[in-house]
């Protein structure tokens, strides 16, 4: 995407035209993925119809709690984010990275043909655009490029949706990742009662927009869209103070808070599974009974698993406290050294889906509070 050559457009897309967008993308060979309800949660799945979207539903979230509730309107995107993120498609939970076959002349190894699946993501929030940009750096920033991620990412068409509300777990304003979608999309929608303010962010987005039946955007539309987006800002209550956060955390590796959180953390890995930027994985051998045809399958792994840091002569991170410390110091600290950005986008998933309600913003605040107290105490 070259901003100098991209002609961005804004228009009003009537609600009835959203189905046309889905159909158009399907006609162009895209597998459209969007939010839908499954097992009392809003998840991302392959869709063909607007009727599969969570029309009239919203989500209520707090630490360790997620509930769907009826809205008093027919909003299609009137919720925040659920347990899924788009990494499910770009960095699949289970994928084959290589295979081996035993032949008469010995073992032969192959890697799969490049994935040609074209996904169109409908309903990508600003924090999720930020998460995709972070995983771009992880998987394609070098020196090695992950072929699976790279192929799917290159082919993806992204339709962002601006949030018009925030959950109690949201803190994207602290992480400067939202709630407004500002880049990294092909199209961005802001939902209004009768349609969408739609904005193109790439040539591909403009080309699709030109094929839809849109209306001129009125000042009234623009005003209502801006008000909707402002609501998502105003509703945010959670904050994370990111000032000097890398040095704060890496400078407090012996803080007693790690043991405290280790005592309540179950080490269940939920936070890393729902996190849209967590990228850890393991490759395992899956072979036939004769061990002559072997697939090397990569699955999501987690730094909370004991085996994650095991070596032949012992395990590096033996306690849950040491594993929580690894996760948080990486996510908010050493990620900056590695990828030039925080690993957190402020989506709040790890807070909602933690079964014991551990809130990373509270963990950081506790360490910051003690450090500040110690500093001011020392100065007094």
């Amino acid at each position: 995407m070259n901003p100098e050559t991209t002609e961005t457009e804004s228009a009003f897309l009537p609600k009835s035209e959203l189905q046309s967008l889905i159909t158009l993308l399907a006609d162009d060979g895209y597998q459209v993925v969007g939010p839908t309800i499954d097992q009392e949660a809003i998840v991302y799945d392959e869709i063909t119809s607007v009727d599969q979207l969570p029309r009239g539903w919203t989500d209520r979230q707090e630490a360790a709690k997620y509930r769907l509730e009826r809205r008093d309107d027919d909003a299609l995107f009137g919720f925040v984010v659920g347990p899924h993120s788009w990494k499910k498609y770009l960095f699949p939970p289970l994928t084959t990275v290589a295979s081996a076959q035993k032949t008469e002349s010995g073992w032969q190894m192959q890697t799969p043909e490049p994935d040609t699946t074209k996904y169109a993501f409908l309903g990508v929030r600003a924090c999720e655009l930020a998460a995709i940009a972070i995983q771009d750096r992880v998987f394609t920033g070098g020196p090695y490029v992950d072929p699976v991620y790279n192929a799917r990412r290159t082919n993806a068409f992204i339709i962002a949706v601006n949030c018009a509300q925030a959950a109690s777990t949201c803190f994207c304003t602290s992480m400067n990742t939202g709630p407004k979608c500002s880049s990294g999309f092909d199209l961005a929608l802001t939902e209004l009662d009768d349609g969408f303010e739609v904005e193109s962010g790439s040539d591909a987005g403009t080309a699709i927009l030109d094929r839809l039946t849109t209306q001129l955007l009125t000042a009234e539309h623009t005003k209502r869209a801006a008000a909707a987006r402002q609501r998502a800002v105003d509703q945010q209550t959670k904050q994370l103070n990111t000032d000097g956060i890398r040095d704060l955390l890496l400078g407090n590796l012996d803080h007693s808070r790690w043991k405290d959180v280790g005592d309540i953390c179950l080490g269940c890995t939920n936070c890393t599974m729902v996190c849209p930027t967590c990228f850890c994985s393991s490759v395992e051998e899956v072979s036939d009974l004769a061990n002559e045809n072997v697939e090397r399958q990569r699955h999501w792994d987690s730094c909370f698993n004991l085996s994650f840091s095991s070596m032949s002569h012992g395990t590096t991170r033996n306690t849950i406290a040491s594993r929580y410390r690894q996760w948080l110091t990486h996510k908010l600290g050493s990620w900056e050294d590695q990828f030039g950005t925080s690993g957190c986008v402020g989506c709040g998933r790890c807070i909602t889906w933690c079964p014991v309600g551990i809130d990373l913003t509270e963990e950081v605040a506790a360490i910051r509070g003690d450090t500040a107290a110690a500093t001011s105490g020392g100065a007094a």
Partner: protein
């Protein structure tokens, strides 16, 4: 970063190449050196590595293990890996015989600071199987002996039977490497040094500490004591290099397993400047 330039893996980093065991040298108990050749000779001809780098050895159906290359980088035709039986992959390798085939991805990781050590003294400090990843450095230093000054090896083992490559020491000495050994426990017939290897560093004469480079590989506690000794002898912190071991699954910085603070040991390491990781080395469970 010069260390990163050593990455010369194939286009698809997941693709392993088939290698065949040409010969196996039994070294010490549970340790053998596997002499490997690429089945596709064109790959063997183009494969180059730098001392300190490692390969992922892949036994289909069992898994991969990160193993340092232990042969001379100038050697063509075969590639040596000295392996101790420690887990499933190395155990399966120990059951393989001459002619067996398996997979190899690599080379990966950073290299010993050969260029940084030019015109100065080099002290190699290692113990047990830690000599294997340093043997390519010894070969390269000796191949280019006139580009360095005093070359010293300080090598420790639990007992005299735990020493690798003993039949090469005289040859190394003849070519200009001062080989010094020590054992934790002597056995009958041993009349050499007894004690841990950092003590050899404490005692050895250093003519120009400011231009001395230390290359160290061993257990973390041994490397920590070695670094402390080196610093005490006036060797600058930026001239002390260690090789770290962590769980490695992908070797290409994508799986997350080998993280050590900001460092991905697989791609930023395994060879790292001591002062860049020193503050984290003594943090329990990090």
């Amino acid at each position: 970063m010069t260390q990163m330039e050593a990455c010369t893996a194939s286009l698809d980093p997941w693709l392993a190449h088939t290698v065949r065991i040409v010969d196996i040298t039994d070294e010490i108990a549970d340790v053998a050196t596997y002499h490997l050749e690429f089945v596709e000779s064109v790959i063997g001809k183009s494969f180059t590595f730098r001392p300190g780098q490692f390969n992922m050895l892949y036994l289909p159906g069992v898994g991969e293990a990160a193993i340092s290359i232990s042969s001379d980088p100038a050697q063509r035709g075969t590639l040596d890996h000295t392996v101790r039986v420690a887990g499933n992959v190395t155990g399966e390798l120990a059951r393989a015989g001459d002619g067996a085939t398996f997979g190899l991805r690599g080379p990966f990781g950073s290299a010993w600071p050969i260029e940084e050590a030019l015109d100065g003294d080099v002290v190699i400090v290692t113990g047990g199987i830690g000599l294997a990843p340093l043997r390519p450095a010894i070969y390269e230093l000796l191949n280019r002996k006139n580009e360095f000054r005093q070359l010293t090896l300080l090598y420790g083992a639990r007992n005299p039977f735990g020493m690798l490559y003993t039949d090469e020491y005289d040859g190394w000495r003849n070519r200009g490497l001062d080989v010094n050994t020590t054992v934790d426990r002597a056995s009958p017939g041993w009349d050499g040094n007894v004690g841990v290897v950092p003590q050899l560093l404490d005692r050895m004469p250093l003519s120009d500490p400011a231009n001395t480079t230390v290359m160290c590989c061993g257990p973390e506690v041994m490397m920590w004591y070695t670094a402390r000794s080196a610093l005490g002898r006036g060797i600058p912190p930026e001239r002390i290099w260690i090789s770290l071991e962590r769980n490695m699954n992908c070797a290409i910085g994508l799986c997350g397993h080998c993280q050590f603070g900001p460092t991905f040991v697989c791609k930023d390491g395994p060879v790292l400047r001591y002062d860049r990781v020193a503050s984290l080395l003594r943090v329990e469970g990090f």
